[in-house]
Symmetry: C2
Subunit: 392 residues, 2 copies
């Protein structure tokens, strides 16, 4: 859940640049990717789009396409981007655009379960814990008769059809994952929102039936609400399109146009030097943040972080380790990690929201620099698990 | 349903300007409001928005607001617009923005029924027939346990809580409607998408608990997918916001920015002469189209149209009648009106989709001029109910 946090730093509002006081709350609960703003600001007019009053008025973008509300230039940019980065097979795939990958996740559930049968139980939806905290709510909030959240894939033992979400790199913990249930009646949705060079080595082009990506995490443009699915099967692509048609009659054309432009600039940048290459720039920035964070955690008696293996990244042509968008921080001594951090005015998301213990918390590392540095400073000041927590 | 229609005129694609051949299909099935393009084109740069690569990157727009993803300048423009046009009370109302009013309709259903009770039946959703053809699908497509389509409000006789949608002016038939069930356990959603001066006289500012409006029908910008709700109750506004958060993590910032700009220009135009006043311009254009259409129908032996009363319009300060966005055409002799028109390569939507008989068809009057004129020409050529229909 994103939303108003009382007294929180308006880090989310780029127009306000208040100084951080020691009393300010640092909101690292959600992964608002504002750290990438300076990169795009530096590019100046190169990424600017201009839209006149009579542009983009129709509901339709491409009536010959299954996804009739997808702007052709966005579809082209998406396919070229995947070819350039090498993170997914996009040739001969249907592209379905959504209002963020949030909507596409729900479109995929609908596509894999509809029309269903009136007398049948809803189909179980599972994901390996720790799993993304919003899947459960997105699956269950309308109490659909088509699908129903069934929790941790590791403990799933119900017979019959099911859907497994595979999130890789995983949100919250950055792990590279594969499906765990592996039964014939299962269908898979691969959420690859974080499979980009800045977060993890690109070891191969992903090649799955339904792959979800988002503009929010690829380039940091969360406000545009643009996600896309690469889909193998025509019927699934058609049903996902149907879902988006019924739920929002398509997807903002302005956002699509701007996404096409910015992805185009990102692709072009990949031909140039490291500092102009958004993904290499992002990779360096994330590596720096992780180095600083690991330094603080190394000197701590109570916190620990996951370790990631070195892998060859085809994109940067180097061995590298993952530098996930979130830190999956663990507290020793069975401490409630989220509460401990909250006592130090750092808002994070506790392990229980991800289907695991309260000793974990997920912390966004995509904030503006000022907030990230302040977070490190406060973290390094926490010496004991009880520090700052009121027991009354 | 909007979507690909085989061999149809790409009237929906503003970049293609093919000439209409007698064999072309004219797609008047959906209400794509492309007739307003010339007006906005004439305004030139006045409505142009420019968005740089680093703008609008955050998920959040206004973290102090219940609807935390609503851009403040859009909220302001919406309230000023309603004050200027006089079609709805917007002071002291919560504004909730959605991905079109499609999404807001579903958000309102969720807000009025959640969290519900596990053992309870879904709450009945009704609307007076003829009702908007998409309500049923939008209500039932996920087989929600919270709400369920129950059809025509006139024949609704189930006890207990229910939701009634009041669409006024009505889609498809342009009638001015009020709630019909009127029981204490009922809650109302007012869909006022067409309550604008170009379609109907503005007789008073509407003042209901939940009022839905859309950028698509107010100014003709359907591609932006911007709708808004004016909501009386804080809890309902919060739940509607929650729905949009869970279903799409907010609404395109680019579209919101552009909508704010264009609504601002429309408001300014209301201070000027008739030709610069979008709503007066639109009112004249719709009146002209209706006059031409009534002329053709008057000379026909088989078609008829609804009659609308003269009412005082506060906005144009004149008596006027309604000029709805759709023609609700009726065929004599129990003919299938949609099939008859399809035989003449005019795509429309048949009465059965709206909960009434096949002698009716809904025809969009918001197409580009070329298509509208061609439609009239073909309509005037239909002399008998069997003409052009193959019986094999």
């Amino acid at each position: 859940m994103i939303g108003p946090a009382k007294n929180s730093v308006p880090a989310t509002n780029p127009t306000k640049k208040l100084l951080l006081s020691p009393d300010s709350i640092i909101n690292l609960d959600h992964g608002d990717p504002t750290m990438f703003e300076p990169y795009w600001r530096k590019l100046g007019e190169k990424c600017t789009v201009e839209i006149s009053g009579s542009d983009l008025m129709s509901y339709c973008s491409d009536i010959g396409n299954i996804c009739w509300f997808l702007e052709p230039q966005l579809s082209d940019a998406i396919k070229r981007l995947h070819r350039t980065v090498g993170n997914a097979v996009s040739e001969d795939r249907y592209v379905v655009v959504g209002t963020g990958s949030t909507q596409l996740y729900q479109a995929a559930l609908f596509a894999l379960t509809s029309p269903g049968r009136a007398e049948a139980d809803p189909i179980s939806v599972v994901c390996a814990a720790p799993y993304y905290s919003s899947y459960q709510e997105e699956t269950d909030f309308l109490r659909s008769g088509l699908y129903k959240w069934a929790g941790d894939a590791y403990s799933f033992d119900k017979d019959g059809p099911y859907i497994e979400i595979v999130t890789s790199p995983n949100n919250p913990d950055g792990a590279i994952l594969e499906a765990v249930v592996n039964r014939k009646e299962g269908k898979l949705i691969h959420d690859l929102a974080y499979y980009w060079p800045q977060y993890t080595p690109i070891t191969h082009p992903a090649d799955y039936d339904i792959m979800l990506f988002t503009f929010s995490k690829s380039t940091g443009h969360a406000g545009s609400r643009i996600g896309w699915a690469l889909v193998n099967d025509k019927v699934v692509a058609r049903k996902m399109t149907k879902f988006i048609e019924v739920s929002s009659t398509g997807v903002s054309k302005e956002s699509q146009l701007r996404a096409a432009k910015i992805l185009g600039v990102a692709i072009e940048g990949c031909q140039h030097s490291d500092s102009e290459n958004f993904f290499k720039y992002g990779q360096c920035l994330m590596a720096e943040r992780w180095e600083k964070l690991r330094d603080v955690v190394k000197n701590s008696q109570i916190f620990s972080l996951p370790k990631y293996p070195q892998e060859w990244c085809n994109f940067i042509s180097k061995y590298s380790e993952s530098h996930p968008a979130f830190a999956w921080l663990k507290c020793k001594e069975d401490t409630n990690c989220e509460s401990l951090l909250r006592a130090h005015k750092i808002l994070t998301r506790g392990g229980e929201r991800f289907g695991v213990g309260q000793e974990y918390a997920r912390i966004s590392l995509l904030s503006r620099e000022r907030d990230f540095n302040q977070f490190l400073e406060r973290l390094s000041g926490i010496k004991t698990a009880g520090q700052g927590i009121r027991t009354t």
